[in-house]
């Protein structure tokens, strides 16, 4: 077999698998999003009527229930993402700075910090759900024993539920930040710090002019990856709040899942996920455009 053919032959199975799971469904989903595909047509999707942009119009509208709900879910996931990323980043940075100094037991501490990252989502969010229980949860019990609250706070229903999930998500997500920021810190040559110290730079100046610039590439990756992950947030909300998290904590994924598989509106669900996807592409493009320009100015 010639070399080129062998090369293609070797990637073929992986390409086929991804074609069937990623590419074809994506195109298929695009087609379905223009159809009124419901339970009557699910056995033969080709017979479902074309409705043009109707599904999209429903999702965009401020009048329809679904439009309002979809708008709210975008807002919710935005708040959730902003808090998770910012707080997670600074916690990760703090821990990375701590762990960058050698001390006895450092390897062990680093391993322990990674625990939340590897614990299966379902386990993590189930025990956080347990912690946040109103009557039997440890959080309310602890808050009561120090006198911060007198009555049990209901965390997992209503307005507070979004923030309860956010806390759990931060706990789960910050170790990844710590891990890659620590790796970033370890690429900084020690001599630069030594030179800066000889020149009399203060600790803050060393951080501002050496550490922070060196961490820029890692920070960029961290932020963009997290924006994309958080837009798709599902596990946290589904496990902690259930199939219907309620208006105040609805996110696009839970809304789309329910619309498609509880209300059998597969066409509408596809249109909503296409809209989510389009928004993600816009954000990614803006992000790269913005940073490209900024880094050219720096140079």
């Amino acid at each position: 077999m010639n070399k080129k053919r062998l090369a293609y032959f070797l990637i073929l199975p992986a390409v086929l698998a991804m074609l069937f799971v990623h590419i074809i469904p994506m195109i298929w989903g695009f087609v379905i999003s223009f159809m009124d595909l419901d339970i009557t047509y699910i056995m033969d999707w080709t017979k479902a009527p074309f409705v043009g942009l109707e599904n999209y119009a429903k999702g965009f509208s401020h009048v329809t229930t679904i439009g309002k709900r979809f708008g709210r879910s975008m807002l919710n996931v935005g708040i959730f993402g902003f808090l998770t990323i910012t707080i997670g980043y600074f916690m990760g940075l703090g821990a990375a700075l701590l762990l960058n100094k050698p001390f006895p037991g450092r390897t062990l501490v680093r391993g322990l910090i990674l625990l939340p990252y590897i614990t299966p989502d379902t386990v993590t969010f189930n025990f956080w759900r347990f912690i946040f229980q109103a009557r039997i949860g440890i959080l309310n019990k602890m808050l009561k024993s120090v006198g911060l609250i007198h009555d049990n706070v209901i965390w997992l229903v209503g307005n507070k539920s979004l923030y309860a999930v956010t806390v759990a998500a931060i706990w789960k997500g910050w170790p990844f930040g710590a891990l890659i920021l620590l790796a970033g810190l370890q690429t900084i040559p020690r001599e630069i710090y030594e030179a800066a110290m000889i020149d009399g730079a203060s600790a803050w100046q060393r951080f501002k002019y050496i550490t922070f610039p060196y961490l820029k590439p890692v920070t960029k990756t961290f932020i963009i990856m997290n924006i994309l992950w958080n837009f798709n947030a599902f596990n946290q909300f589904y496990v902690m709040l259930g199939n219907d998290p309620g208006m105040a904590a609805e996110v696009p994924s839970t809304l789309i899942l329910r619309r498609a598989f509880n209300h059998f509106e597969y066409g509408l669900g596809s249109a909503l996920s296409m809209m989510l996807f389009a928004l993600m592409i816009v954000i990614t493009a803006l992000y790269f455009y913005f940073f490209r320009i900024r880094s050219q100015e720096d140079a």
């Binding site: 090369a7 992986a14 990623h22 299966p120 024993s145 798709n232």
Partner: protein, 284 residues
Amino acid sequence: MNKKAKKLLGKIAFTAAIILVLLFVLGPYMWMVSSSFKSTLEIQGMEPSWIPKTFTLDNYKTMNDIVPVFDYFKNSLIISGGTMFLSIILSTLAAYSLSRFRYKARNPYIMALFSTQMLPGILFLIPYYVMFIWIKHTFGLQMTNTYYGLIFTYTSFSLPFSILMLRNYLDSVPREIDEQALIDGCTRVQALFRVIIPLAKPGIAAVGIYSFIMGWSEILFATIISGSRTTPLSIGLLDYIQQNAAHWGNMMAACIMSTIPVLILFTLMQKHIVQGLVSGATKG
């Protein structure tokens, strides 16, 4: 003296910070473990205690009574094990191709791998389900609620990261080794199986464990394409919380059971997985 005191103070602050971080990380685990050894009465009680007042193994003994959690565990093992196996084969072949050959589709393919990693799962879920129903309707092949349906799905989820990680690993194996094997009369395929794969064992193991953990933890697709016969742990654990009774003690025990396999695998391969994650993040 002043300088010494300052240094001591710094050390104390540093230690305190480390302890604080550890408490934050380990607190929820300690609560999970301690609750799993508590009686239902104590869990329902008003006084929080970190150490069970009456230590009991009941939650472990009865965890399979209310929810068939051992079946879920078995399902998860089959699905994740299958994903691991298939993912290792496909990603080794693809990574070898990407690492050793130069061809037109190579760079576009690498780009495609990077971007599919970022696509939202919900985007495929609906058409994927429609496709499964269509396959069943047209070819009579059952896809939902089957092990192979789930294994196939999870394998292709794990492929982008696995291929990229393994390619990095194979890049670090010198090309001269292949060439030597070719000179010695091996074919390309023999060189891959007899020489490169044994050398790449740690990388392959890392890919396998990553795929296993991925399959073990997935929730979104499992809610739709698994069924009564194939329910994995990741969604099965939710069954402990029912309309009229919440079996938190059993659930915590089951949570611990479902963490253990992942924990063992991760500890075995921590170094390689961390390296893979880090290089993915710092190079991208």
